[in-house]
Amino acid sequence: MTSSGVDKALSLVRNLPRISFNNLRDSVGKRKPRERCRGRYGGKTHGCGQKGSEQRQAYMRLGHGGGQNPFYMRFSKEPYYKGWHLQREYLPISLHRIQMLIDTGRLNPEEPIDVTQICNTKLFKLDPRKKQYGFQITDEGADCFDAKINLEVQYAPEHVIAAVEKNGGIITTAFYDAMSLQAAVDPEAFFNRGVPIPKRMLPPHDALVQYSDPKQRGYLADPDKIAEERFI
Protein backbone atom coordinates (compact mmCIF):
# COMPACT_ATOMS: atom_id res chain seq x y z
CA MET A 1 0.00 0.00 0.00
CA THR A 2 1.30 3.43 -0.92
CA SER A 3 0.57 4.95 2.46
CA SER A 4 2.75 2.40 4.28
CA GLY A 5 5.66 3.40 2.03
CA VAL A 6 5.09 7.03 2.92
CA ASP A 7 4.76 6.20 6.60
CA LYS A 8 7.98 4.21 6.44
CA ALA A 9 9.79 7.13 4.82
CA LEU A 10 8.46 9.58 7.37
CA SER A 11 9.45 7.36 10.28
CA LEU A 12 12.94 7.08 8.80
CA VAL A 13 13.22 10.86 8.59
CA ARG A 14 12.07 11.15 12.18
CA ASN A 15 14.26 8.50 13.71
CA LEU A 16 17.52 8.30 11.76
CA PRO A 17 20.47 10.47 12.83
CA ARG A 18 21.54 13.60 10.89
CA ILE A 19 23.31 12.94 7.56
CA SER A 20 27.02 13.60 7.68
CA PHE A 21 30.05 12.33 5.83
CA ASN A 22 30.59 9.46 8.22
CA ASN A 23 27.20 7.82 7.60
CA LEU A 24 27.01 8.14 3.81
CA ARG A 25 27.81 5.28 1.53
CA ASP A 26 27.50 4.41 -2.21
CA SER A 27 24.71 1.97 -3.13
CA VAL A 28 25.74 -1.67 -3.47
CA GLY A 29 27.35 -2.44 -6.82
CA LYS A 30 28.01 1.21 -7.66
CA ARG A 31 31.77 0.94 -7.45
CA LYS A 32 33.21 -2.29 -8.86
CA PRO A 33 36.87 -3.06 -8.50
CA ARG A 34 38.82 -2.90 -11.75
CA GLU A 35 39.21 -6.25 -13.53
CA ARG A 36 42.82 -7.11 -14.15
CA CYS A 37 44.03 -8.55 -17.46
CA ARG A 38 45.06 -12.03 -16.28
CA GLY A 39 44.25 -15.53 -17.45
CA ARG A 40 43.21 -16.93 -20.77
CA TYR A 41 40.64 -14.31 -21.75
CA GLY A 42 42.20 -11.22 -20.22
CA GLY A 43 45.74 -11.95 -21.42
CA LYS A 44 47.64 -12.02 -24.79
CA THR A 45 46.99 -8.47 -26.14
CA HIS A 46 45.51 -7.23 -22.77
CA GLY A 47 42.77 -5.18 -24.48
CA CYS A 48 45.07 -3.27 -26.86
CA GLY A 49 44.10 -4.84 -30.23
CA GLN A 50 46.37 -6.20 -32.96
CA LYS A 51 49.58 -4.50 -34.21
CA GLY A 52 49.14 -0.99 -35.66
CA SER A 53 49.58 2.37 -33.96
CA GLU A 54 46.93 1.49 -31.35
CA GLN A 55 48.70 -1.52 -29.91
CA ARG A 56 51.97 0.38 -30.12
CA GLN A 57 50.27 3.20 -28.08
CA ALA A 58 51.19 5.79 -30.75
CA TYR A 59 47.81 7.52 -30.73
CA MET A 60 47.12 10.71 -32.72
CA ARG A 61 45.76 13.78 -30.87
CA LEU A 62 42.02 14.24 -30.32
CA GLY A 63 40.29 15.65 -33.42
CA HIS A 64 43.01 14.59 -35.87
CA GLY A 65 41.24 13.35 -39.03
CA GLY A 66 43.90 10.98 -40.26
CA GLY A 67 45.52 13.72 -42.33
CA GLN A 68 42.46 15.30 -43.94
CA ASN A 69 41.42 18.81 -42.85
CA PRO A 70 40.06 18.20 -39.34
CA PHE A 71 36.46 19.18 -38.54
CA TYR A 72 37.51 21.86 -36.05
CA MET A 73 39.63 23.63 -38.68
CA ARG A 74 37.17 23.61 -41.56
CA PHE A 75 35.11 26.64 -40.39
CA SER A 76 36.12 30.25 -39.68
CA LYS A 77 35.92 31.73 -36.19
CA GLU A 78 33.10 34.23 -35.53
CA PRO A 79 33.56 36.54 -32.53
CA TYR A 80 29.94 36.40 -31.38
CA TYR A 81 30.75 36.11 -27.70
CA LYS A 82 34.16 37.74 -27.64
CA GLY A 83 34.64 39.52 -24.34
CA TRP A 84 31.08 38.77 -23.18
CA HIS A 85 32.35 37.60 -19.80
CA LEU A 86 33.93 41.00 -19.29
CA GLN A 87 30.90 43.06 -20.26
CA ARG A 88 29.22 45.05 -17.53
CA GLU A 89 25.47 45.53 -17.34
CA TYR A 90 23.80 48.52 -15.75
CA LEU A 91 20.06 48.32 -15.11
CA PRO A 92 18.29 51.37 -16.56
CA ILE A 93 16.01 53.53 -14.44
CA SER A 94 14.36 56.59 -15.95
CA LEU A 95 14.24 60.01 -14.29
CA HIS A 96 10.48 59.77 -14.64
CA ARG A 97 10.53 56.64 -12.46
CA ILE A 98 12.72 58.29 -9.84
CA GLN A 99 10.36 61.27 -9.72
CA MET A 100 7.45 58.90 -9.22
CA LEU A 101 9.25 57.02 -6.44
CA ILE A 102 9.96 60.29 -4.65
CA ASP A 103 6.39 61.54 -5.09
CA THR A 104 4.89 58.29 -3.80
CA GLY A 105 7.24 58.31 -0.82
CA ARG A 106 9.34 55.26 -1.67
CA LEU A 107 12.54 57.29 -1.92
CA ASN A 108 13.45 60.03 0.53
CA PRO A 109 15.00 63.05 -1.22
CA GLU A 110 16.39 64.32 2.12
CA GLU A 111 18.76 61.33 2.30
CA PRO A 112 21.39 60.44 -0.34
CA ILE A 113 19.90 58.09 -2.94
CA ASP A 114 22.29 55.35 -3.97
CA VAL A 115 22.34 51.65 -4.86
CA THR A 116 21.33 50.54 -1.38
CA GLN A 117 18.38 52.92 -1.16
CA ILE A 118 17.13 51.97 -4.62
CA CYS A 119 17.38 48.26 -3.82
CA ASN A 120 15.60 48.83 -0.49
CA THR A 121 12.48 49.90 -2.39
CA LYS A 122 12.35 46.24 -3.50
CA LEU A 123 11.19 47.33 -6.94
CA PHE A 124 14.54 46.65 -8.60
CA LYS A 125 16.47 43.42 -8.49
CA LEU A 126 20.19 43.76 -8.95
CA ASP A 127 22.20 40.53 -9.21
CA PRO A 128 25.98 41.07 -9.17
CA ARG A 129 26.49 37.43 -10.13
CA LYS A 130 24.86 38.17 -13.50
CA LYS A 131 27.53 40.80 -14.20
CA GLN A 132 25.15 43.59 -13.25
CA TYR A 133 27.34 46.31 -11.86
CA GLY A 134 24.72 48.83 -10.82
CA PHE A 135 22.17 51.29 -12.16
CA GLN A 136 22.18 53.82 -14.96
CA ILE A 137 19.72 56.68 -15.28
CA THR A 138 17.99 57.30 -18.62
CA ASP A 139 16.69 60.70 -19.71
CA GLU A 140 13.02 59.77 -20.07
CA GLY A 141 11.19 62.40 -18.05
CA ALA A 142 14.08 64.84 -17.85
CA ASP A 143 11.94 67.81 -18.88
CA CYS A 144 9.52 67.51 -15.95
CA PHE A 145 12.00 66.38 -13.28
CA ASP A 146 11.90 68.72 -10.30
CA ALA A 147 13.30 66.98 -7.25
CA LYS A 148 16.43 68.20 -5.45
CA ILE A 149 18.36 65.02 -4.67
CA ASN A 150 21.83 63.67 -3.94
CA LEU A 151 22.09 60.78 -6.39
CA GLU A 152 24.83 58.21 -6.73
CA VAL A 153 24.58 55.77 -9.64
CA GLN A 154 26.98 53.99 -11.96
CA TYR A 155 26.32 55.91 -15.16
CA ALA A 156 24.32 58.93 -16.22
CA PRO A 157 24.32 60.71 -19.60
CA GLU A 158 24.82 64.45 -20.00
CA HIS A 159 21.11 65.24 -20.27
CA VAL A 160 20.35 63.51 -16.98
CA ILE A 161 23.23 65.26 -15.20
CA ALA A 162 21.91 68.59 -16.49
CA ALA A 163 18.37 67.84 -15.33
CA VAL A 164 19.45 66.84 -11.81
CA GLU A 165 21.77 69.83 -11.35
CA LYS A 166 19.21 72.26 -12.75
CA ASN A 167 17.11 71.63 -9.65
CA GLY A 168 20.09 72.15 -7.37
CA GLY A 169 20.85 68.46 -6.82
CA ILE A 170 24.13 66.57 -6.85
CA ILE A 171 24.80 63.55 -9.04
CA THR A 172 27.86 61.29 -8.81
CA THR A 173 28.88 58.18 -10.73
CA ALA A 174 30.67 55.60 -8.61
CA PHE A 175 31.99 52.12 -9.24
CA TYR A 176 31.23 49.12 -7.02
CA ASP A 177 33.04 45.86 -7.70
CA ALA A 178 31.02 42.64 -7.50
CA MET A 179 31.75 41.84 -3.84
CA SER A 180 31.09 45.36 -2.61
CA LEU A 181 27.94 45.50 -4.71
CA GLN A 182 26.71 42.26 -3.15
CA ALA A 183 27.12 43.90 0.24
CA ALA A 184 25.51 47.16 -0.86
CA VAL A 185 22.46 45.54 -2.47
CA ASP A 186 21.38 43.81 0.76
CA PRO A 187 23.45 45.08 3.70
CA GLU A 188 21.39 43.25 6.31
CA ALA A 189 22.00 39.83 4.76
CA PHE A 190 25.65 40.72 4.30
CA PHE A 191 26.15 41.70 7.94
CA ASN A 192 24.32 38.55 9.06
CA ARG A 193 26.98 36.50 7.34
CA GLY A 194 29.56 37.99 9.66
CA VAL A 195 32.32 38.47 7.08
CA PRO A 196 34.46 41.61 7.19
CA ILE A 197 33.45 44.52 4.96
CA PRO A 198 35.35 44.13 1.68
CA LYS A 199 37.64 46.83 0.36
CA ARG A 200 35.99 48.52 -2.59
CA MET A 201 38.20 47.88 -5.61
CA LEU A 202 39.11 50.49 -8.20
CA PRO A 203 37.31 50.26 -11.56
CA PRO A 204 38.83 48.22 -14.41
CA HIS A 205 41.06 50.04 -16.90
CA ASP A 206 38.38 50.72 -19.49
CA ALA A 207 36.11 52.26 -16.84
CA LEU A 208 38.82 54.24 -15.05
CA VAL A 209 38.66 57.00 -17.68
CA GLN A 210 34.93 57.40 -17.22
CA TYR A 211 35.07 57.54 -13.43
CA SER A 212 37.90 60.12 -13.45
CA ASP A 213 36.03 62.39 -15.85
CA PRO A 214 34.49 65.50 -14.26
CA LYS A 215 32.07 65.79 -17.21
CA GLN A 216 30.54 62.47 -16.17
CA ARG A 217 30.76 63.43 -12.47
CA GLY A 218 33.01 60.46 -11.72
CA TYR A 219 33.80 59.81 -8.06
CA LEU A 220 37.52 59.81 -8.83
CA ALA A 221 37.43 63.14 -10.65
CA ASP A 222 38.89 66.39 -9.33
CA PRO A 223 36.14 68.11 -7.31
CA ASP A 224 37.38 71.53 -8.47
CA LYS A 225 36.74 70.58 -12.07
CA ILE A 226 33.35 69.13 -11.15
CA ALA A 227 32.44 72.51 -9.64
CA GLU A 228 33.35 74.15 -12.97
CA GLU A 229 31.29 71.64 -14.93
CA ARG A 230 28.32 72.24 -12.66
CA PHE A 231 28.57 75.95 -13.46
CA ILE A 232 28.43 75.16 -17.16
Binding site: P112, A142, I170, S180, I197, D224, I226, F231
Partner: protein, 168 residues
Protein backbone atom coordinates in the same frame (compact mmCIF):
# COMPACT_ATOMS: atom_id res chain seq x y z
CA UNK B 1 27.31 54.72 1.49
CA UNK B 2 28.18 51.77 3.71
CA UNK B 3 31.21 53.61 4.96
CA UNK B 4 29.09 56.65 5.80
CA UNK B 5 26.76 54.48 7.91
CA UNK B 6 29.70 52.77 9.56
CA UNK B 7 31.27 56.13 10.36
CA UNK B 8 27.97 57.37 11.84
CA UNK B 9 27.82 54.27 14.05
CA UNK B 10 31.45 54.66 15.00
CA UNK B 11 31.04 58.31 15.91
CA UNK B 12 28.18 57.33 18.22
CA UNK B 13 30.30 54.60 19.87
CA UNK B 14 33.43 56.64 19.43
CA UNK B 15 35.51 55.58 22.38
CA UNK B 16 36.12 52.12 20.92
CA UNK B 17 37.14 53.19 17.41
CA UNK B 18 38.76 56.59 17.71
CA UNK B 19 41.24 56.17 14.85
CA UNK B 20 38.96 54.57 12.24
CA UNK B 21 37.45 57.78 10.80
CA UNK B 22 40.89 59.45 10.49
CA UNK B 23 42.19 56.81 8.07
CA UNK B 24 43.06 58.14 4.62
CA UNK B 25 43.99 55.63 1.93
CA UNK B 26 46.80 56.23 -0.54
CA UNK B 27 44.26 56.70 -3.34
CA UNK B 28 41.94 59.10 -1.55
CA UNK B 29 41.05 62.29 -3.46
CA UNK B 30 43.38 64.39 -1.29
CA UNK B 31 46.34 62.37 -2.49
CA UNK B 32 45.34 62.12 -6.14
CA UNK B 33 44.60 65.87 -6.48
CA UNK B 34 46.90 67.61 -4.00
CA UNK B 35 46.12 71.19 -5.12
CA UNK B 36 42.36 70.86 -5.26
CA UNK B 37 39.86 72.43 -2.88
CA UNK B 38 37.86 69.13 -2.86
CA UNK B 39 34.61 71.06 -2.81
CA UNK B 40 32.22 70.34 -5.67
CA UNK B 41 29.83 72.99 -4.37
CA UNK B 42 32.29 75.88 -4.44
CA UNK B 43 30.94 78.90 -6.31
CA UNK B 44 32.55 79.49 -9.68
CA UNK B 45 32.94 83.03 -11.06
CA UNK B 46 31.53 83.58 -14.51
CA UNK B 47 34.25 84.36 -17.08
CA UNK B 48 34.95 88.10 -16.86
CA UNK B 49 35.90 89.16 -20.33
CA UNK B 50 36.91 92.73 -21.08
CA UNK B 51 34.19 94.93 -22.58
CA UNK B 52 35.14 94.25 -26.18
CA UNK B 53 35.24 90.44 -26.30
CA UNK B 54 32.39 87.99 -26.11
CA UNK B 55 33.37 85.18 -23.70
CA UNK B 56 30.65 82.76 -24.74
CA UNK B 57 28.75 83.11 -21.47
CA UNK B 58 25.02 83.66 -21.98
CA UNK B 59 23.10 84.56 -18.78
CA UNK B 60 19.88 82.55 -18.95
CA UNK B 61 18.25 84.73 -16.24
CA UNK B 62 18.25 87.70 -18.61
CA UNK B 63 16.58 85.83 -21.48
CA UNK B 64 12.87 85.35 -22.02
CA UNK B 65 12.30 81.64 -22.65
CA UNK B 66 8.91 80.29 -23.71
CA UNK B 67 7.88 76.78 -24.66
CA UNK B 68 5.32 75.62 -27.20
CA UNK B 69 4.25 72.58 -29.20
CA UNK B 70 6.47 71.68 -32.15
CA UNK B 71 5.35 70.95 -35.69
CA UNK B 72 5.80 67.96 -37.97
CA UNK B 73 5.06 64.26 -37.53
CA UNK B 74 5.04 62.59 -34.16
CA UNK B 75 1.48 61.71 -33.20
CA UNK B 76 0.37 62.25 -29.63
CA UNK B 77 3.82 63.19 -28.41
CA UNK B 78 4.34 66.14 -30.75
CA UNK B 79 0.77 67.33 -30.15
CA UNK B 80 1.01 67.36 -26.37
CA UNK B 81 4.60 67.86 -25.25
CA UNK B 82 5.97 71.40 -25.33
CA UNK B 83 9.42 70.86 -26.76
CA UNK B 84 9.77 73.90 -29.01
CA UNK B 85 11.78 76.66 -27.41
CA UNK B 86 11.59 80.40 -28.14
CA UNK B 87 14.39 82.55 -26.69
CA UNK B 88 14.16 86.36 -26.76
CA UNK B 89 16.19 89.23 -25.38
CA UNK B 90 16.28 92.95 -26.06
CA UNK B 91 19.41 93.49 -28.11
CA UNK B 92 20.12 97.12 -27.15
CA UNK B 93 19.69 96.47 -23.41
CA UNK B 94 21.75 93.26 -23.31
CA UNK B 95 24.73 94.00 -21.05
CA UNK B 96 26.44 90.69 -21.74
CA UNK B 97 27.07 91.56 -25.41
CA UNK B 98 29.85 94.13 -26.11
CA UNK B 99 28.43 97.39 -27.53
CA UNK B 100 30.58 97.26 -30.64
CA UNK B 101 29.07 93.92 -31.68
CA UNK B 102 25.43 94.99 -31.36
CA UNK B 103 25.51 97.05 -34.56
CA UNK B 104 27.05 94.18 -36.48
CA UNK B 105 24.48 91.73 -35.14
CA UNK B 106 21.71 94.12 -36.23
CA UNK B 107 23.02 94.35 -39.79
CA UNK B 108 23.91 90.65 -40.16
CA UNK B 109 20.63 89.28 -38.77
CA UNK B 110 17.85 91.68 -39.77
CA UNK B 111 15.31 88.86 -39.91
CA UNK B 112 15.86 87.90 -36.29
CA UNK B 113 15.09 91.34 -34.85
CA UNK B 114 11.48 92.30 -34.14
CA UNK B 115 10.00 95.79 -34.45
CA UNK B 116 10.41 96.28 -30.68
CA UNK B 117 14.10 95.45 -30.92
CA UNK B 118 13.97 91.88 -29.53
CA UNK B 119 16.39 89.28 -30.87
CA UNK B 120 14.48 86.00 -31.46
CA UNK B 121 15.91 82.49 -31.64
CA UNK B 122 13.84 79.31 -31.89
CA UNK B 123 14.72 75.66 -31.76
CA UNK B 124 12.84 72.40 -32.17
CA UNK B 125 15.76 70.22 -33.09
CA UNK B 126 15.32 67.38 -30.55
CA UNK B 127 12.54 65.69 -28.64
CA UNK B 128 13.58 67.28 -25.39
CA UNK B 129 12.80 70.78 -24.13
CA UNK B 130 16.12 71.24 -22.34
CA UNK B 131 18.19 69.98 -25.23
CA UNK B 132 16.36 72.40 -27.51
CA UNK B 133 17.12 75.21 -25.08
CA UNK B 134 20.80 74.27 -25.21
CA UNK B 135 20.63 74.25 -29.00
CA UNK B 136 19.02 77.72 -29.08
CA UNK B 137 21.74 79.12 -26.80
CA UNK B 138 24.40 77.53 -28.98
CA UNK B 139 22.88 79.18 -32.06
CA UNK B 140 22.89 82.55 -30.28
CA UNK B 141 26.60 82.08 -29.52
CA UNK B 142 27.24 81.26 -33.18
CA UNK B 143 25.50 84.45 -34.31
CA UNK B 144 27.50 86.59 -31.89
CA UNK B 145 30.78 84.94 -32.84
CA UNK B 146 30.02 85.46 -36.54
CA UNK B 147 29.49 89.16 -35.79
CA UNK B 148 32.78 89.28 -33.88
CA UNK B 149 34.72 87.56 -36.67
CA UNK B 150 37.37 89.81 -38.19
CA UNK B 151 39.03 88.32 -41.28
CA UNK B 152 42.84 88.32 -41.28
CA UNK B 153 44.43 91.24 -43.11
CA UNK B 154 45.49 90.48 -46.70
CA UNK B 155 49.27 90.13 -46.96
CA UNK B 156 51.36 91.97 -49.53
CA UNK B 157 52.37 88.68 -51.15
CA UNK B 158 48.74 87.84 -51.84
CA UNK B 159 48.13 91.31 -53.32
CA UNK B 160 51.18 90.83 -55.57
CA UNK B 161 49.93 87.47 -56.77
CA UNK B 162 46.48 88.90 -57.55
CA UNK B 163 48.05 91.81 -59.46
CA UNK B 164 50.32 89.49 -61.46
CA UNK B 165 47.40 87.15 -62.24
CA UNK B 166 45.19 89.95 -63.46
CA UNK B 167 47.90 91.64 -65.54
CA UNK B 168 49.10 88.39 -67.17
Amino acid sequence: MLRRRLINWISQNGRYFTSASKYKSSICLENIYPGSSLNILRSVQKPAGDGTNFTGYVPIEQLKVSYSMASGPGGQNVNKVATKVDVRFHLKNAQWIPEALKEKILEQNPNRITKDGYFVMKSDLTRSQQLNLADALEKIRTVIKAAAFVPAPVTEETLEKIRKRSSA
